[in-house]
C-alpha cells in the first residue's frame, strides 16, 4: 500500500523537483514539493514524510545538509536522500555522516532510484508491521491508534485525551464492538499511569462470587481451595488502571463493594480482616443504558454517579460510515500481514458493499468480515465477491418493500413485529429495534399494543 507513504522533494530548481515528483507519482506515491530548505522544513512541520529528497546545493540561507539536520531533529525516523551533482560528491559523503541514509548523483539511473525508494519503503513497511504486531501483543494502544475522522468521535477523543492524566473515573458507553476497550487502553497508555498496569476485567463472564474474588483477591482459607493468599485485580492494578467491562451486569452486592472502593480507595480481600489501600483509576464500560438501569432500580444511583464523572458515548459504526473505508484499509493492512498475504487493497465495489452494510456488531464485525475475506480471497485485491456473505444480508434488507402508509403506523407495525418475534420479551424486542427499553414501553403504550 504505497498511498500511505508520502515523499517530499526539496529542490530550488522547479524543473528538477517537479519532474522528479511526477516520476515518483507514477510509481504510486503521494509527493509534495518544496522550493527551499526553509519551505521544506515548514512542510515537515505539517506532516511526516517517509522519504525526503533534498538537493544538496540550494541558495538562500539553508543548504541541503542544514535542511536535513533540521528535519531529522524533528523526525528522527525520517529517511533522507541527498541529491548531488558529480562536483559535490565529497560534500554528500559528509552528509551521510550527518545522518543521510543515501545520496544520489544526478542524473541518476531510473532503476537505481526506484530500487532505492523501494528498499526504504520496504523497511518502513516492515517496521510498521512490527509496530502493529507489538501493539496487538501488548495492547498498548494510544490515541493515534484509534482510527476515525468522524467529528463526534474526534471531539470525544479530545475530551478523554484531556483527562488521560487525571484520576477521574470514566464511563464509556457504546454498543459492543465500537471500541470501548480500545479507548480505555488509550486513556491509560496516554496518561501518567502508562508505566503502571492496565488490568481488564469482564464483569459479565463470571459468577458473582468468582468475580468478587477476582476483583478483590482472597486470604488463605477464605473458601475451600483457597490454599494461599491471592491478590485481586484491584491490587494488581495498583498505581495503574482497572477496566471494568460490562459493568451494567454486576450484582447489587458487588455494586456496594465497588462503591466503597471508589469512595474510600480501600477494600477487604475475601475472608480478610485487614483493609487493603489502593490507588487505582477506574474506567468502566457498558453497552447498557445505565441511567435507565438506575431508573428501573437495577443499578445503584450512587455508584452510577461515582462512575460517570466523565461519560462518553461511542457512536455505533453505522452512524459514522465515513470511518468504514479508513477502518477497512487499516484492518486489511493488519490482517493481510497477519495472514501472510500481500494484498493491494479493496476495490470500489467491495467498499460499496461495506458502506451499505449496517454493522450491528460494529468494528469487531468489520474486523471479522475483513479477516474472512482475506483468508478466502484469490486475487490481489478484495472485491465485492469476497464479501458476498455480507451482500446476502444487505440484499435481504433492501428487498424488503415498505408499504406507503403513515410513518406512525409503520412504527407500530415494526414494534408489533419485533414483539412477536421475541415472543413478547420487551428487552429482546427493544434490542432488535435498536432502542432502549423505556422507549419501547413508551411505544407499546402509545400504540396500545397488546402483549
Amino acid at each position: 500500500m504505497k498511498e500511505r507513504w508520502q515523499i517530499l522533494v526539496i529542490d530550488d530548481e522547479e524543473v528538477m523537483r517537479e519532474s522528479l515528483a511526477a516520476w515518483l507519482r507514477e510509481d504510486g506515491y503521494t509527493v509534495d514539493t518544496a522550493q527551499s530548505g526553509l519551505d521544506g522544513v515548514s512542510h515537515a512541520r505539517q506532516k511526516e514524510y517517509a522519504i525526503y529528497f533534498i538537493d544538496l546545493k540550494m541558495p538562500g540561507g539553508m543548504d541541503g545538509i542544514e535542511t536535513m539536520m533540521e528535519i531529522r531533529r524533528m523526525q528522527p525516523e525520517a529517511s533522507v536522500i541527498i541529491i548531488t551533482a558529480y562536483a559535490t560528491v565529497d560534500t554528500a559523503i559528509t552528509a551521510m555522516k550527518e545522518g543521510a541514509q543515501e545520496y544520489i548523483v544526478k542524473p541518476c539511473n531510473p532503476e537505481e532510484i526506484s530500487m532505492l525508494v523501494e528498499r526504504i519503503i520496504k523497511i518502513k513497511n516492515l517496521q510498521r508491521e512490527n509496530q502493529i504486531l507489538r501493539k496487538r501483543l501488548t495492547g498498548q494502544y494510544e490515541f493515534r491508534d484509534i482510527i476515525t475522522k468522524n467529528p463526534k468521535m474526534l471531539s470525544l477523543l479530545e475530551l478523554v485525551r484531556d483527562v488521560a492524566s487525571m484520576r477521574s473515573t470514566v464511563l464509556i458507553r457504546g454498543e459492543s464492538g465500537t471500541g470501548k476497550e480500545l479507548v480505555a487502553r488509550a486513556v491509560h497508555f496516554s496518561g501518567d499511569r502508562a508505566q503502571k498496569a492496565f488490568v481488564a476485567v469482564s464483569c459479565a463472564s463470571l459468577a458473582e462470587t468468582l468475580l468478587e474474588s477476582e476483583l478483590f483477591g482472597y486470604e488463605k482459607g477464605a473458601f475451600t481451595g483457597a490454599n494461599a493468599q491471592a491478590k485481586g485485580k484491584f491490587e494488581i492494578a495498583a498505581g495503574g488502571t482497572i477496566f471494568l467491562d460490562e459493568i451494567g451486569d454486576i450484582s447489587p452486592k458487588l455494586q456496594a463493594d465497588l462503591l466503597r472502593v471508589l469512595q474510600e480507595k480501600r477494600f477487604y480481600r475475601l475472608g480478610g480482616t485487614n483493609e487493603v489501600q489502593v490507588d487505582v483509576r477506574v474506567i468502566a464500560a457498558t453497552n447498557k443504558d445505565l441511567a435507565e438501569e438506575v431508573r428501573e432500580g437495577r443499578f445503584r444511583d450512587d455508584l452510577y454517579y461515582r462512575l460517570n464523572v466523565i461519560e462518553i458515548q461511542i457512536p455505533p459504526l453505522r452512524q459514522r460510515r465515513e470511518d468504514i473505508p479508513l477502518l477497512a484499509r487499516h484492518l486489511l493492512e493488519r490482517l493481510s500481514s497477519e495472514c501472510g498475504k500481500e494484498l493491494s487493497g479493496l476495490n470500489e465495489d467491495a467498499l460499496k458493499v461495506l458502506l451499505s452494510y449496517d454493522w450491528p456488531g460494529n468494528v469487531r464485525e468489520l474486523e471479522n468480515a475483513i479477516e474472512r475475506a482475506v483468508v478466502t480471497c484469490r486475487g490481489r485485491q478484495l472485491t465485492a465477491d469476497d464479501f458476498s456473505f455480507l451482500a446476502q444480508a444487505v440484499e435481504a434488507r433492501t428487498n424488503f418493500t415498505v408499504p406507503a402508509i403513515p410513518l406512525q403506523e409503520l412504527e407500530k407495525l415494526a414494534v408489533q413485529a419485533a414483539l412477536e418475534r421475541s415472543s413478547g420479551n420487551v428487552k429482546e424486542a427493544a434490542q432488535a429495534l435498536g432502542i432502549d427499553r423505556s422507549t419501547m414501553y413508551e411505544k407499546i403504550k402509545r400504540y396500545e399494543i397488546e402483549r
Binding site: L20, W23, E26, D27, P107, S344
Partner: protein
C-alpha cells in the same frame, strides 16, 4: 470525436505510429485518430547530454491536445529529465498527455542488429503504459502487466502488451467515461 489522438514528433517512422494506432484501437476498443506531425520543441536538446528534455515534449503535447480525450506523442529522440539519465516515456498522471520514446526500444541503440517486430512490440507496451497513467493508473506490482514499471529492456520484454485485470478494470471505466464525453 476520437478518444485518443496519436501524434509523432519530427522524423519518426510513420509505420510505428500507424502500428500503435491500430493496436490501441483494438486493445482499448475506442476511437483512435492520427494528429498532425509536431515539430520537435525548440531548446529541448541538451547539447552536452545529447538528450532531449521530456518535459518540453509533454508541454507541446498538452498544447496540441484536443479539448477532451487523450493525446499520445511518439518520438525517436532519447529523452531525459534532469534527475534521471533517461526515460522510456512519461505522462501526466490523470492528465491529457502521454509520451513515448522509441530511441532505447531499438536493438540498434545497444549495438545489436535491428529487429522491427521487437521494436513494434515494445512500442505497443510502452504506449499502453504511458496512456495508462493518463487514466490515473500508477505502477502495477504485477511484473507481467503493462503498467509495471520497467527501467530496462528485459523488464519491457517480460511484460505483456495488455493490462492485468485490476488495471484493465480501471482503464475501461475511465475510457467509458471519456467515450461519453467525446460523443
Amino acid at each position: 470525436m476520437a478518444v485518443i489522438t496519436v501524434v509523432r514528433f519530427g522524423m519518426l517512422d510513420a509505420r510505428i505510429e500507424s502500428e500503435v494506432m491500430g493496436f490501441l484501437a483494438r486493445t482499448l476498443d475506442c476511437e483512435v485518430q492520427s494528429g498532425p506531425v509536431l515539430p520537435e520543441p525548440a531548446g529541448a536538446l541538451d547539447e552536452r547530454r545529447q538528450q532531449w528534455m521530456a518535459i518540453d515534449f509533454l508541454k507541446a503535447l498538452v498544447a496540441a491536445a484536443p479539448a477532451r480525450g487523450r493525446i499520445l506523442g511518439l518520438t525517436g529522440r532519447d529523452l531525459y529529465i534532469p534527475m534521471l539519465s533517461f526515460l522510456f516515456g512519461q505522462a501526466q498522471l490523470d492528465g491529457a498527455a502521454a509520451l513515448v520514446s522509441v530511441a532505447r526500444l531499438r536493438q540498434e541503440f545497444y549495438g545489436l542488429p535491428g529487429d522491427d517486430g521487437l521494436l513494434l512490440t515494445r512500442a505497443r507496451k510502452e504506449a499502453l503504459h504511458e496512456l495508462g497513467h493518463t487514466f490515473g493508473l500508477v505502477h502495477c506490482p504485477d511484473p507481467g502487466c503493462a503498467m509495471s514499471l520497467s527501467t530496462n529492456l528485459p523488464q519491457v520484454d517480460f511484460k505483456r502488451d495488455a493490462y492485468c485485470t485490476n488495471c484493465g478494470g480501471t482503464a475501461r471505466a475511465r475510457l467509458a467515461a471519456l467515450n461519453g464525453e467525446t460523443k
